[in-house]
Structure formats: structure tokens, C-alpha cells
């Protein structure tokens, strides 16, 4: 038997379905974004750790020039080292048919087979290499996908000056190359850089490295002191050209992945909980107001003998039904979105175990928070009414004694027509409510901006990094330091109209107990193609003696301008010297050190040599120039910036798009939820006055303007507030998000601001139109009768 109160509940809910739906929508969005982003983050995090465990990802890494394999046994004896594995790694140029751009492959020796070691391959297609077939290779999946390669295909490669065709037998993933980034490159580019695992003997023979290795992997015992282990490894490898051992924290792929995960974590743990809180606060307020409009009904229930308890329960049920609808929709939506986001990350991360998981506490917490907020709002409103004697509560609330706000004495306001004055007083009458509405509508703007501004920031980043600082069209890296005269040879290539040579050298920088492995880049005096910019965007140049650092690197080393850094060169001469830091460079990507190329060469004790060159090239001549470059024996790699950037942006775009769409939808839901419910409640409270005005001869339009005029004012205040909030939120978010590798600039374009305001205003306008229809249907005759 359904109780009378439950029947009332059912009919009330049916009657207020517009309000029920809009509130449920806000709840749904809050829960959906919470569930989607936290489950995505959890899925990524667990996939990473599962995959690292499954693939036995190494703990430490080292590169050497050439060391005898027998040294492995001594490395294994180093205290704290659990396992050692030596490898041979070489970068070669591939000669892919029909591909105009230069493509680099990293050949990595792989034993696999019966003795699975570290950094194991996860085979996706085909098979592993046959130990007896030196020409077989397994290709990294991202590269295979970008270049449409698969088992059975032959890959022509220039190996030690000879053109060999490698046979692809499998496609695989490796925990070491989740992000395949070449040293010195800021971003992964799967079309131009891939990994090929091949038989060790074949690789040794091809590069005259029989019985030697140039790369080693370690796992460490859990209690190992890393600095001590690295120092001992470095000591053993120093005679063989060791470049310094390092841990996962400086391994490129891991660093990219952990930066990405950290971003995900921050996004998941900051934005969605805020959304959920916003949704909860809104539901609390709106539900409270709805209950307050049922004042007479509550009084009547009390008058006919109901206790407070069943009345409170009645309205709690209302909250539960509304939040229940919102929760169901929110959880389903959140899981769908989470799956979609996790799916779009598979493309990006290429983690083999990327399974979608929803930790149970996530939806439970989200629902509990929404429910508690709604129930509190409803219960507080009921208690306020229940505190009154029924007879008193049955009368409409006593008319408020109005006062003129001081602002009305200001001249332009004093001169307003009375109708506008009514609108103004409607707002000033309940300043707290007006402020809440403005605040809530304003909140939808930063939410949209959060979805859209990434494009602005990335545009700005690309603009400054690639068009103001790194202005070369093509960067050529040589296999060994080369006489600077190479510049004349390069400048004669077709299409090349400017050449600058550069010298990059691997170093370890030490300041006190902190150290960092990076490269010092030597640039020319008055460089035009590789410029350095300071924080104010001014072009700066490294002095004849002294060094400049990326600001984030200085921060990491804990030093300031004027301090001295100990530089240990990790190749060739292996000199060590203290160099003063004379300035900071505002690189948005990567952590680097810069010197004048002449000063760097003197420090290294080498003559006028270059390890790379930056070229400015006409697009018309580019193809011919790239063809010629491929024939130059000293050229190890060629990078075409434009394409690298485009590839990267295309990948990011899909992720950003999903994210923006979710946020825009959520913001629109908030705007609709707030505006619609606010206008409905204002209408309920003012319908008597508004109907009176209609009787007095005001048109529907004029009456709507009085009620909705307040909304216009609220929107007009909410939009600039929302913009201001956007800048604060974006700035704060990026402060937390800033990683070592990237610094995303807090740039929000005009277009984004306008779009955010437009979406909010549109959502508000739709709500206003729905309420306008109700104003049109006001019952005029009723106002001539007794007040309800």
C-alpha cells in the first residue's frame, strides 16, 4: 500500500520533472567526470605497474662507448646490483621506399628466446627473432603502425655504410619504449623514429663489435643505495667510455610516461572532485529552495497531524530519487567516458595491459557526496519551515520590509524606469542567492576553459619553442664531431639558405649533492636558427665564458644565476670543470644547458668541430635536399621539425577533444541547472506579482523581462567573473602540472574566452526560454482572488 505521502512524492516529482531532470543532470555530470577521470587514471597507473613487472623493466641503465662482455660479471658483483644484462644499440638510417623523410631506427640487440631477460618484449603480432637468422627483426608497434609495416616486410637500412634489408618477423611492445623518444628530441615521433630488435650476433658483426657491448641494463636489490651503485658502475665503466649510470627517473620513456601519469593524476584528483563539489553545492542549494517553495504544504501536513519526522523523510526521499537518477546516469556515463578516454590513451601510451578498471570506492564516494549534499539541503529547508507554528507557516512568508540599497542613490540607477528598478531589487533583495547564482554560473566558464585552453597553450608553446627559439626547418646530427667546415658543404645543398653549426655533448651537472644528466648545446654567436629566449621572451646569448640553463634545470639543481656548476663531460676527453651560470633560458620543453660553441670546444679541448647543424630550407628544395643528405656518410640523423610537431599535435588533439567535450557538456549542465532552477523558483515566488502586472496591462514580454532581466544582469556579472576565475584556475592547475620535461604556459586565447561565455550564455538562454513559456501561461484571474 503506497502511503499518501509517497503518492504526493510521485506526483510532485512528475510535476517538477523539468527541475528534477536539470538537477539530476548536474549530479550526473559531477559523478560522471569523477568516475571517468579517476577510473582512467587508475587504469593507466595499474597498467603501467603491471606492465613494468611483466616486462621486467630495468631499474638502472648505462651507455658506454665499447666495453668487453666479460665486464658483465664484474658489474654483477657490484653491491646492490641484482641482475645485469649487456646489449648492443645503434641508431641507423632506414631507406624506406616511397618515404621522402629521413627515418631513424634504433637497432637493439635482443636475446629473448629461452633465456628471457630484462625489458622483455610483449609480442603483438608475428614471432620473436630466430637466433640463427641475423637479418630478422622485431619492430616496435607504434613505428610499425605509423609506417604500415608488419611481419613479412623488408626494411632497407644503412648499416655501417652498407645497405642491408632487414626482415620483419614480429611486432612488439617494450617497457623501455612506451614513448619512443630519441635523445635530444623533445617529443616522440613514431613516423620518423622506431625501434628494431635484432639478433645480437648479427648486430655485433655489422658494427665490428664482436664480444663487446655498448649498453647495459640492471635490476637493483630493493635496499640498494642508488648513488653508490651508480658511482661504482661508473668507476668500472670509465675506461670504456661510460656515459654515467642512471635510474628510471632519467630514462626517457619512463619519464614521459610518468609525467603523463602525473598529469593524469593531477587532473583526476583536482578537477573532478571540484566538479563534484560544485554539483553537490548546487544540488544542496536548489533542493533547499524547492522545499522552501512547498512551505504551505509542509504547514498543512503539520496542521493535519504529521510529525516533523515523516515530513523530513518525505523530502529526503525526494532528494534520494533525484540524486538516484543522477547517480545512475552519472555512473553509466562515467564508465562509458572512462572507457573511451582509456581507449584513446592506448593509442598514445601503447601499454599492452591497458585494461579498464573502475575502483569501487570511486562511484560510491561520488554518490555518497551528492546524496549527502542533497539530503542536507532538503532537510535544512524542511527544518526551517517545521520550526514555525503550522498556522504561521500556512500563511505566505511575511512580506519583507524592503530598504533601498545605497547603490540606488547613484545617479544612473536613480533614473532607471521602475520596471528596471524591480529587476534590480529582485537581485538586491536576496543578495546571497544572487551571489550564489552568479558564482555558480561563473563556475561553468572555467570548466569550459579548462577543456579548450590546451589548444591555446600548445599553439603558444609551438609558436615560441619552434618559431621563436628553434627556428631551423631541418636539424642534421653527425655520427661523430665533424670539422666545422661541413657548414659550407651543407649550405650548397638545394634549398638551403642558412646554416648554423652546433655542438652537443653529454654531461653530468653537479651542484652540491644534486646532479643531472643532460647535454650542453653550444650555439653560434648571433645565432639565428637556434636562439635562446629568457623569461621575458628576449633573445639572449651565452657569454664567451659561462653557461646558461633552462630555468627548471636551475631549479632542479637548486642554483641561481652567478652560482657555479661542476660539469663532468661524459664522452671523449671526459674533462671536468666548474662553470658559472650566467643566465637562465625559458625553454618550455626539456632541461638543457647552453654555451657558446667556441667556448664549449675550447673546454672540450677540440678544435672547431660541430656535432649538428641547423638548416633553414625552402620548402620547394626540401625533398631534393633530404635526398642528398641521405647520401652524406657523416649524417647520422635528420629531423624535420614541422612534421615532428604536426604528428605530436595530432595525437594530443584526440585526447584533448574528448576531454573538452566532457567539460563543455558538464559546464552547460551546470549553467542550465542553475539558471533553470533559479528562474523557476523566482517565478514561483513572484508569480503573484507578475500576474498582477499582467492584469495591469504589462505584456508577456515586459513581465518576462522583469524576471529574466535579473538573469541578464547575473550573466553579465558572471561572465567576467568566470573569465577571471578561468585565469586563476588555469594558472593554479599549470603550477601543479608543471613537469620537468614540459612547462605548459598559462595562455588562454580570446577565442576560448568567447566560446566559454557563449556556451554558458546559450545554456542560460535555453533555460530562460523554457521559463518564459511558463510566464506566458500565468493565471491572471487567480490574482484577483485570495492569495494562495
Amino acid at each position: 500500500m503506497v502511503s499518501a505521502l509517497d503518492r504526493k512524492l510521485r506526483r510532485d516529482l512528475a510535476h517538477m520533472r523539468g527541475q528534477v531532470m536539470t538537477i539530476a543532470l548536474v549530479v550526473a555530470c559531477g559523478i560522471a567526470s569523477f568516475v571517468a577521470s579517476l577510473s582512467t587514471y587508475e587504469s593507466l597507473r595499474l597498467s603501467q605497474s603491471d606492465y613494468y613487472a611483466e616486462g621486467r623493466f630495468a631499474d638502472a641503465f648505462v651507455t658506454v662507448e665499447r666495453a668487453p662482455r666479460a665486464l658483465a660479471a664484474r658489474l654483477a658483483e657490484v653491491g646492490g646490483v641484482a641482475t645485469v644484462e649487456t646489449r648492443l644499440i645503434r641508431d641507423v638510417t632506414l631507406d624506406l621506399p616511397g618515404v621522402g623523410m629521413p627515418v631513424i631506427a634504433r637497432l637493439v640487440s635482443y636475446d629473448g628466446g629461452d633465456r628471457p631477460g630484462l625489458n622483455r618484449l610483449h609480442l603483438r603480432r608475428g614471432r620473436l627473432i630466430d637466433p640463427d637468422r641475423p637479418d630478422e627483426v622485431v619492430v616496435s608497434e607504434a613505428f610499425a603502425a605509423a609506417q604500415r609495416l608488419g611481419p613479412g616486410d623488408g626494411v632497407p637500412a644503412i648499416i655501417n655504410g652498407r645497405r642491408d634489408v632487414l626482415r620483419i618477423v614480429g611486432v612488439a611492445l617494450s617497457p623501455e619504449f612506451i614513448f619512443a623518444v630519441r635523445g635530444g628530441e623533445p617529443l616522440p615521433d613514431d613516423r620518423r623514429f622506431g625501434v628494431l630488435w635484432m639478433n645480437r650476433h648479427g648486430l655485433e658483426a655489422a658494427f665490428n663489435m664482436e664480444g663487446a657491448f655498448n649498453d647495459a641494463l640492471f635490476t637493483l636489490s630493493p635496499d640498494a643505495s642508488r648513488p653508490a651503485v651508480y658511482a661504482e658502475i661508473d668507476r668500472l665503466l670509465e675506461p670504456y667510455g661510460g656515459r654515467g649510470a642512471y635510474g628510471r627517473d632519467q630514462q626517457m620513456s619512463h619519464r614521459f610516461l610518468s609525467d603523463e601519469l602525473r598529469e593524469q593524476e593531477i587532473m583526476a584528483t583536482t578537477i573532478p572532485p571540484v566538479f563534484l563539489a560544485v554539483a553537490a553545492v548546487l544540488v544542496n542549494i536548489v533542493l533547499g529552495r524547492i522545499v522552501a517553495t512547498q512551505r504551505e504544504q509542509i504547514a498543512t501536513l503539520k496542521a493535519i497531524g504529521y510529525d516533523n519526522a515523516p515530513i523530513v523523510v518525505h523530502y529526503l526521499k525526494m532528494a534520494i530519487v533525484i540524486v538516484g537518477i543522477g547517480s545512475a546516469v552519472g555512473i553509466v556515463l562515467g564508465i562509458a567516458l572512462g572507457r573511451m578516454m582509456t581507449g584513446s590513451y592506448t593509442q598514445f601510451f601503447r601499454l599492452p595491459l591497458l585494461a579498464y578498471r573502475v575502483p569501487l570506492w570511486v562511484p560510491l564516494l561520488a554518490v555518497a557526496v551528492s546524496l549527502a549534499a542533497a539530503a542536507a539541503g532538503a532537510a535544512a529547508a524542511v527544518r526551517r519551515v517545521a520550526a514555525l507554528a503550522p498556522a504561521e507557516a500556512m500563511r505566505p512568508p511575511a512580506p519583507r520590509v524592503h530598504r533601498r540599497a545605497p547603490i540606488e542613490r547613484v545617479w544612473p540607477i536613480r533614473m532607471l524606469p521602475v520596471r528596471l528598478l524591480m529587476t534590480l531589487r529582485l537581485l538586491l533583495d536576496r543578495p546571497l542567492r544572487t551571489a550564489t547564482t552568479i558564482g555558480a554560473v561563473a563556475l561553468s566558464i572555467p570548466i569550459i576553459v579548462l577543456g579548450l585552453f590546451w589548444n591555446d597553450a600548445l599553439d603558444y608553446m609551438i609558436e615560441t619553442q619552434f618559431f621563436a627559439a628553434e627556428r631551423a626547418d631541418v636539424v642534421v646530427a653527425f655520427s661523430d664531431p665533424t670539422n666545422d667546415r661541413v657548414r659550407y658543404e651543407l649550405s650548397r645543398l638545394p634549398g638551403v639558405y642558412d646554416v648554423e653549426t652546433m655542438r652537443a655533448v653529454s654531461v653530468r651537472l653537479r651542484a652540491g649533492h644534486r646532479s643531472y644528466r643532460t647535454a650542453i648545446l653550444g650555439t653560434e654567436d648571433g645565432a639565428r636558427l637556434r636562439r635562446l629566449l629568457d623569461a621575458a621572451g628576449r633573445v639572449v646569448a651565452p657569454p664567451p665564458d659561462g653557461m646558461m640553463l633552462t630555468d627548471r634545470l636551475a631549479e632542479r639543481l637548486g642554483i641561481a644565476v652567478g652560482d657555479v656548476v661542476l660539469v663532468e663531460v661524459l664522452e671523449g676527453s671526459r674533462r671536468t670543470r666548474e662553470i658559472a651560470v650566467t643566465g637562465l633560458v625559458d625553454d618550455m620543453i626539456g632541461l638543457s644547458a647552453y654555451m657558446n660553441i667556441g667556448a664549449l670546444n675550447r673546454f672540450l679541448g677540440e678544435g672547431a668541430v660541430a656535432s649538428a647543424a641547423a638548416l633553414a630550407v625552402d620548402r620547394d628544395g626540401e625533398a631534393a635536399m633530404l635526398a642528398r643528405l641521405r647520401e652524406m656518410p657523416r649524417v647520422a640523423t635528420v629531423t624535420v621539425r614541422r612534421e615532428a610537431v604536426e604528428t605530436f599535435l595530432a595525437t594530443i588533439a584526440t585526447i584533448v577533444l574528448v576531454f573538452s567535450a566532457i567539460l563543455c557538456a558538464f559546464a552547460a549542465a551546470i549553467a542550465i541547472g542553475v539558471v533553470y532552477n533559479n528562474a523557476r523558483i523566482a517565478l514561483a515566488e513572484r508569480s503573484w506579482d507578475l500576474a498582477t502586472l499582467r492584469v495591469l496591462g504589462f505584456t508577456r514580454r515586459e513581465v518576462s523581462a522583469i524576471l529574466l532581466g535579473g538573469l541578464v544582469v547575473e550573466l553579465a556579472l558572471a561572465v567576467p567573473l568566470g573569465w577571471w576565475l578561468s585565469f586563476q584556475v588555469v594558472d593554479a592547475l599549470l603550477r601543479v602540472l608543471h613537469t620537468e620535461m614540459f612547462e605548459i604556459p598559462p595562455v588562454i586565447s580570446m577565442r576560448t574566452c568567447v566560446a566559454a561565455a557563449a556556451i554558458t550564455v546559450l545554456a542560460a538562454a535555453v533555460s530562460a526560454l523554457i521559463v518564459r513559456r511558463r510566464i506566458d501561461r500565468l493565471d491572471l484571474v487567480s490574482v484577483l482572488k485570495a492569495r494562495e
Binding site: 506579482d689 492584469v695 495591469l696 496591462g697 504589462f698 515586459e702 484571474v781 490574482v783
Partner: protein, 244 residues
């Protein structure tokens, strides 16, 4: 029926109803609120519509005021056809020609006395100054008070001032003293009488207080949706003479 027997020929007829009927659908049943009413009201007349609840007097007033349309019949205000007018035309009719006084005053609580009057004069073609309208009802000294600061009688006088400030052709009063005590009620009726006499505004008052009938030129009694009788007062009483 003799229409306007007491009226001089100079008085033109401003409101004409012929065969006016109104049927409401109340759930499953049709309620006949007006049954073929014929009626004529002349310029400057003071009419009192008397009748118990459900007699049709409110329906008649609503049609007269452009708040409702008849189901059938003719209803004309001068050259305005009220029976076939659409929502917009009725709004314009109310705005330009009709002043309303309600039983519960219906002042806008967030506007002061003066602003409540301004509300109407701002959209009228040839209004009085709000101060003049409020002087007429004896409230010139309370211009800046909000409704909540006034007594019921004062609020109703503000409502009258608001209704007459735009110089309407007709003042429609729905139980204007219904919520007031005896003395205050008389004060409000005096104001209405003054408006009728000094400004020449046609006044229609609906009430179930038969004592008020003495003020009228003509008294129409309604019963069961029809005019049961029309009484012409040879002499109009002043409100102070009324007793109830």
C-alpha cells in the same frame, strides 16, 4: 429591460454586451458562469455588481477587464471587440483603458508607494504625476514608504492611486473593501467616489456587500449567471452615509 433610464442622452454607452455567455470546463462538467447576458454601461457611470459567490459577477468583471473571453456573444468596449480580441489586443486594452483595484491590493512589495504608481504611469500615454494621484487618495506624505510599512487601507488607497494615475476610462474594483475594516473601507470607497466624480471615470465595483449599492448610479444583481435585476438609484449616497 430599460437601459440607462436615469442617464441623460449625452451619456454615450461605453460597454455593450449582447447574449454574453461563458462556460468553464471544470474537470468532467461544464459550468455555465454567464448565461446570455445583455448589458450596457455608460460613460461616467458608477455601477455596483451585487451577487453571491458563483453568481457570475467575477466572470463578468473579468470579461469587462479583458482578462477572459466569452464563450459566445458580443462584448464591446467602445470600438474594441473584446470577444474576439487576442491576447496581445486584450493586454493593450487593459493597459490603455482599464484601471484595476483588487481585494488584496496587489502592490509590488519591492517598490515604494510612488514607484508602484510610477510602474503604471511610465507606460501610459497621458498619465497624472504619481504625486498628484497619491494626493488624490490622501497619501502624499507616504511617497517613499514600502507597502509593508502601510496599513491595509493605505495600501488599498495606493492601489486606487495606481489604478487611476493613467486616467483609465474605466476603474474595475473587485471587492475593494473585502479585506478592510469598516472605517478603512469607507475611506477607500470615498476615494473611489471622488475619482468617479472629479475625473469622470466609469467605475464598476463588484461586491457582496449590499450596503455599498447605495453609492451607485445603477445596481445590478446577478444570480446564476444572469442579471436578475437592475436598480437605478435616484440619489447616490456618499460613502459616509453607508452603514453595514
Amino acid at each position: 429591460m430599460e437601459f440607462g433610464a436615469a442617464m441623460s442622452p449625452a451619456h454615450e454607452s461605453v460597454f455593450v454586451a449582447r447574449g454574453l455567455s461563458k462556460t468553464y470546463r471544470m474537470g468532467e462538467v461544464d459550468v455555465l458562469a454567464l448565461r446570455s447576458v445583455d448589458l450596457e454601461i455608460f460613460a461616467g457611470e458608477f455601477i455596483v455588481l451585487l451577487g453571491p459567490s458563483g453568481s457570475g459577477k467575477s466572470t463578468l468583471l473579468n470579461i469587462l477587464g479583458g482578462l477572459d473571453s466569452p464563450t459566445s456573444g458580443v462584448a464591446r468596449w467602445r470600438d474594441h471587440d473584446l470577444a474576439s480580441a487576442d491576447e496581445g489586443e486584450l493586454t493593450r486594452y487593459r493597459r490603455e483603458h482599464v484601471g484595476f483595484v483588487f481585494q488584496y491590493y496587489n502592490l509590488i512589495p519591492s517598490l515604494t508607494v510612488r514607484e508602484n504608481v510610477l510602474l503604471v504611469t511610465e507606460m501610459a500615454a497621458d498619465p497624472m504625476a504619481p504625486e498628484d494621484a497619491l494626493t488624490l487618495v490622501g497619501l502624499a506624505h507616504r511617497l517613499d514608504h514600502f507597502p509593508a510599512q502601510l496599513s491595509g487601507g493605505e495600501q488599498q488607497r495606493v492601489a486606487v492611486a495606481r489604478a487611476i494615475a493613467k486616467r483609465p476610462d474605466v476603474l474595475l474594483c473587485d471587492e475593494p473593501t473585502g479585506a478592510l475594516d469598516y472605517q478603512t473601507g469607507k475611506l477607500v470607497l470615498e476615494v473611489i467616489a471622488t475619482v468617479n466624480q472629479q475625473l469622470g471615470t466609469t467605475v464598476v465595483v463588484i461586491t457582496h456587500n449590499a450596503a455599498i449599492a447605495g453609492m451607485a448610479d445603477r445596481v445590478m444583481r446577478l444570480a446564476n449567471g444572469a442579471i436578475a435585476s437592475i436598480k437605478v438609484n435616484a440619489r447616490r449616497c456618499t460613502p459616509s452615509e453607508l452603514q453595514w
